[in-house]
């Protein structure tokens, strides 16, 4: 496998090149943005009937933008080193003039009047959007099966889910339909689908990327994250949007380091923790074996591995399913048919109008969480549920702080399983919730984490992801380790990393 690591992907078809490679081609004036965009759109269209990643494509507009980018390249007035490279957004990012549904009927008719900060920053860098990608309704789910507009499929096996909630983005990036995309991660919604589709997914530190224009699910947990086919691309995309935003009071007012500078310096001497409490715990043998290979590879690269204990992590899922629904129940209250989106117009009065609008506009999982959250915040229950969950959150933060006094990073599987079959878990929400057992604590703590592919499971031939969890704001160390691992594994960019569609 390592023999293929140096395969020059300059020779790869345009749709399989990384954004960084495409940018180099543009820089060298060997490629045009128009050709790149046309080739990627062609691939996108070819795979779409199978993966069903799109909720709204903006291909026409992307081609026009690509022509404009080519003009800038010819006049040396480019907006960034990636000017003219296409990307796509999970349909949770608000886009001016382009329908934004969040996977819900309740927003089916809504055309936003403004752009999310992530979108305006990427547009400012000249990236051209191919469209809006499928997700579980309001990002609530781990499979895209909760999308009101039908599920997306895993390009590695179209009987399987791509994971979720950013499943449309993961499937399209994995299938070569776009080099990179923006997802969001509230409990694992970038990392888990990245893992299940064999790509890289990043959950940055809470507050590192502005949430302005990101339709809220659980405000204290939501964070936008890049999804790509290489660690380098993921770092470059994060670089484009990270940094303080005066429109988001929770965004961190600190300078963003250069994520690419020193990314190839290796991990010799790095101390990496393996979580004792994550051992066993429902992890499939095929996943476990790949992840243990990965641990050995990290050691081979010069890192020292040690077992650490994070005792509070076992309560992560319970705390998450109180905090996230509580915030969601409040965040989703605005969808009442009064100002925008779907309205049940036959109702006799305001109460009936709002109730029926919500009854018809929301899907089952959204209703389940709104009810859970409403209950958790109710008088007499607040302390026992929401209050206690917040205490668990504090314990998780303290556990992690203690751990980071002895290690630089923590590793784990991203997901306990590879991609599961469509319909397999829809009747059992609790089982679905356990998909996020390794990812959820990171959102509760606010730290950064990345999922990086570690090859295919020997059990089912489906991708397995390795999660690297960094201290808050230490994305740089995280990228350096993921890059070293990716390079040594030599899987990314090879024919083997492309799903057999």
């Amino acid at each position: 496998m390592s023999g293929r690591a140096s395969t020059p992907s300059q020779e790869a078809p345009l749709q399989w090149r990384t954004a960084t490679e495409l940018a180099r081609g543009l820089e060298a004036r060997e490629l045009s943005a128009r050709d790149i965009t046309a080739a990627i759109i062609e691939q996108s269209n070819a795979v779409e009937p199978v993966v069903r990643a799109y909720l709204k494509s903006t291909h026409e507009r992307a081609l026009e933008s690509a022509v404009a980018a080519d003009e800038r390249w010819s006049r040396d007035t480019t907006l960034s080193s990636h000017d003219g490279v296409p990307l796509a957004y999970k349909d949770i990012f608000v886009t001016r003039g382009v329908a934004t549904t969040c996977g819900s009927r309740i927003l089916e008719s809504w055309i936003p009047p403004y752009d999310a900060t992530v979108v305006s920053r990427c547009e400012g860098a000249g990236l051209t959007s191919l469209g809006k990608l499928n997700l579980d309704e309001f990002a609530m789910g781990s499979s895209t099966e909760n999308s009101a507009f039908g599920p997306s499929r895993n390009p590695w096996n179209t009987d399987c889910v791509p994971g979720g909630s950013s499943g449309g983005a993961a499937a399209l990036v994995a299938a070569g339909g776009v080099p990179w995309a923006w997802g969001t991660d509230t409990g694992g919604s970038v990392r888990q689908p990245a893992s299940l589709c064999g790509i890289v997914g990043v959950k940055p530190t809470y507050g590192r990327v502005s949430r302005y224009g990101l339709i809220a699910f659980a405000s204290s947990l939501d964070q936008a994250g890049p999804m790509a086919r290489s660690v380098e691309d993921a770092a470059a995309l994060l670089q484009m949007a990270a940094g303080h935003d005066p429109m988001d009071a929770t965004s961190i007012p600190r300078e963003v380091p250069d994520y690419l500078e020193g990314i190839d310096e290796g991990i010799s001497g790095m101390r990496i923790g393996i979580v004792k409490e994550f051992e066993g715990g429902g992890t499939q043998p095929g996943v476990r074996s790949k992840v243990e290979d990965a641990y050995r590879r990290l050691e081979k690269l010069g890192a020292s591995l040690e077992e650490i204990s994070l005792p509070s992590f076992e309560h992560g899922i319970s705390a998450y399913y109180l905090i996230a629904p509580a915030e969601a129940s409040s965040n989703l209250a605005r969808y009442d048919g009064v100002r925008y989106g779907y309205r049940q117009a036959d109702a006799a009065d305001i109460v009936a109008m709002s109730s029926r609008t919500r009854a018809e506009g929301f899907g089952d999982e959204v209703k389940r969480r709104v009810m859970l959250g409403t209950y958790a915040l109710s008088a007499g229950y607040y302390e026992a549920y929401y209050g206690k969950a917040q205490k668990v959150r504090t314990l998780i933060i303290e556990d992690l702080e203690r751990a980071y006094s002895s290690v630089d990073l923590i590793v784990s599987p991203t997901s306990p399983t590879t991609a599961f079959k469509l319909g397999e878990r829809t009747s059992n929400p609790l089982e679905m919730y356990l998909s996020d057992i390794f990812t959820v604590p990171v959102n509760l703590a606010g730290n950064a984490a990345i999922s990086v592919p570690c090859g295919l499971s020997l059990d089912d031939g489906l991708p397995v992801g390795l999660q690297l969890i960094a201290p808050a704001l230490d994305e740089k160390t995280m990228f350096r380790a993921a890059y070293a691992f990716e390079k040594d594994l030599g899987w990314a960019g090879t024919a083997e990393s492309r799903p057999p569609l």
Binding site: V94, G213, S220, A249, S329, R334, V338, R339, S378, A379
Partner: protein, 485 residues
């Protein structure tokens, strides 16, 4: 009867802050305007939008808290208050709950015994809602055919001031609101217009038999749109509750609506349907932690407040407490008085009398505030000085004041234009007196015979001949000298 009952009142006062922009977005704050003309994705609660707290609004709230002698929290939180109503874009209001910015203050108000301290429980920041217009039906949402929503007001910074139940009558509540209004005006934090809703008062009132320890059944009164309404509504409630206690009929804990026309309150909803607002900390905002340095700076720049000003007016100008109360009810009135008094060399009480007895009358008739009056304070001083000098009579001065009020011209110009200068020159007056005596010999003889009664008639004759410009004092003196000595 009043001896048999005790009334307990606590007030909840909402004040719209006079900031340039709204609490959590950049939209302008203003009154009225075309519906939905001052809105943006943030204050409309569009998906994906986030609030960012307005620093000026926090500063204004700190000013209020400091002026009320509150403890300022070093760390406090915004909470979400969740309930559904179509005029609230997010279906939750960003407010403060168990962690407000200002706690435990007081406001000293004038009372029969001199001064009474009313406790302030808390002062916190929140955002205002939009305005609904329910079309059809009786004007309430339930009976309406449809409703129109105007979100111009949505997100306007609002401060809620909650008092302790220290107020013992409707009258005292009126005094409290008057005092608080003057304080807020002096701080420059709000327009404090009850008619425009920038100052809104809700009251909790209960009545118990004298000597009882437990409070009576609490009733919340809403829709009091002027200071006068506060007094009327609470007087009505006091009476209604006393009568119920007399008759032994039960009182229910409820919210009652005051009707301006009838002067009565009526039941809106009973507290049985109490809302569960599901408060929780607002995750879109960071905790508010005003630095000690910032708080100290604001404390230093607080203006003179009404209680201090009242004391100073008594000691510096020698005014009565009643006059001081009237002058300091509004800080613009107080400032107007001081500007006039400074320009006047005589006794400041004279200026006060002109303001209260005459100027207020003109303002009332015109229906405007002193701040909108065209008379500059030094012009009133000039007018009173002219009366003192005998240039015009007091009666003439009232005519001149009315003209000043209408045109804004200085008094001297008006007097000159109207030819009103008083003639005190004895030679000139004497000629007219001689004429009047010659024309009325019988009257003059009566006076000479020792009957001073008809003297007034002769004075009148002289005044008529001189178009009222003669100094009446001089006319009297000369007539006396000529006929009685």
């Amino acid at each position: 009867m009043s001896g048999r009952y005790e009334t307990t009142v606590g007030l909840e006062i909402h004040v719209e802050l006079a900031t340039r922009s709204k609490m959590f977005c950049g939209c302008r704050v203003a009154f009225a305007g075309a519906p939905n003309s001052r809105v943006c994705p943030v204050c409309l609660g569009f998906p994906g939008t986030l609030p960012v707290a307005n620093e000026k609004a926090v500063e204004h709230t700190l000013r209020i808290g400091l002026a009320l002698g509150c403890d300022i929290a070093e760390h406090c939180l915004f909470h979400r208050k969740n309930y559904f109503y179509p005029d609230m874009p997010k279906n939750y209001q960003i407010s403060q709950y168990d962690s407000p910015l200002c706690l435990r203050g007081h406001l000293d108000i004038p009372s029969k015994t001199g001064s009474k301290s009313i406790g302030i429980t808390r002062v916190h920041i929140e955002e205002d809602t939009g305005k609904s217009q329910h079309v059809g039906g009786d004007g309430r949402i339930a009976s309406s055919e449809y409703s129109l929503e105007d979100f111009n007001r949505a997100g306007t910074p609002l401060v809620e001031i909650v008092t302790e139940p220290d107020i013992e009558s409707g009258e005292e509540a009126t005094t409290f609101v008057t005092e608080l209004r003057a304080l807020l005006e002096a701080l420059g934090v709000s327009d404090v217009r009850m008619d425009e809703g920038s100052l809104r008062v809700d009251a909790n009132i209960s009545v118990r038999r004298a000597g009882e320890i437990e409070h009576g059944t609490k009733v919340e009164v809403k829709n009091m749109n002027s200071i006068r309404s506060v007094g009327r509504a609470l007087a009505f409630e006091e009476e209604r509750q006393r009568r119920a206690l007399d008759e032994g009929s039960p009182l229910v804990q409820e919210t009652r609506h005051f009707d301006e026309k009838s002067g009565a309150t009526s039941s809106m909803r009973s507290k049985e349907h109490a809302f569960d607002y599901r408060y929780f900390p607002e995750p879109d905002l960071v905790p508010l932690e005003p630095s000690a340095h910032w708080v100290a700076d604001i404390q230093k720049t607080l203006p003179e407040l009404p209680p201090e000003r009242r004391q100073r007016f008594v000691s510096e100008y020698g005014l009565t407490p009643i006059d001081v109360g009237v002058l300091t009810a509004s800080s613009s009135t107080a400032a107007w008085f001081e500007d006039a008094a400074r320009a006047y060399a005589g006794d400041p009480k004279k200026i006060v009398n002109w303001i209260i007895a005459d100027l207020f009358g003109l303002l009332n008739v015109a229906g405007i505030e002193l701040s909108a009056c065209r008379i500059a304070p030094p012009q009133l001083a000039a007018l009173v000085t002219m009366v003192d000098a005998g240039t015009i009579s007091g009666t003439q001065a009232k005519v001149v004041l009315a003209e000043m009020f209408r045109s804004g011209s200085p008094p001297r110009e008006i007097v000159r234009a109207k030819g009103m200068e008083q003639v005190s020159d004895k030679g000139a007056i004497e000629a007219f007196i001689d004429e009047a005596i010659a024309e009325n010999p019988d009257v003059a003889d009566k006076v000479r015979g020792g009957n001073p009664g008809p003297l007034g008639f002769l004075v009148g004759q002289v005044m008529r001949k001189m178009n009222g410009q003669a100094n009446p004092k001089v006319v009297n003196e000369i007539l006396h000298a000529k006929l009685l000595s």
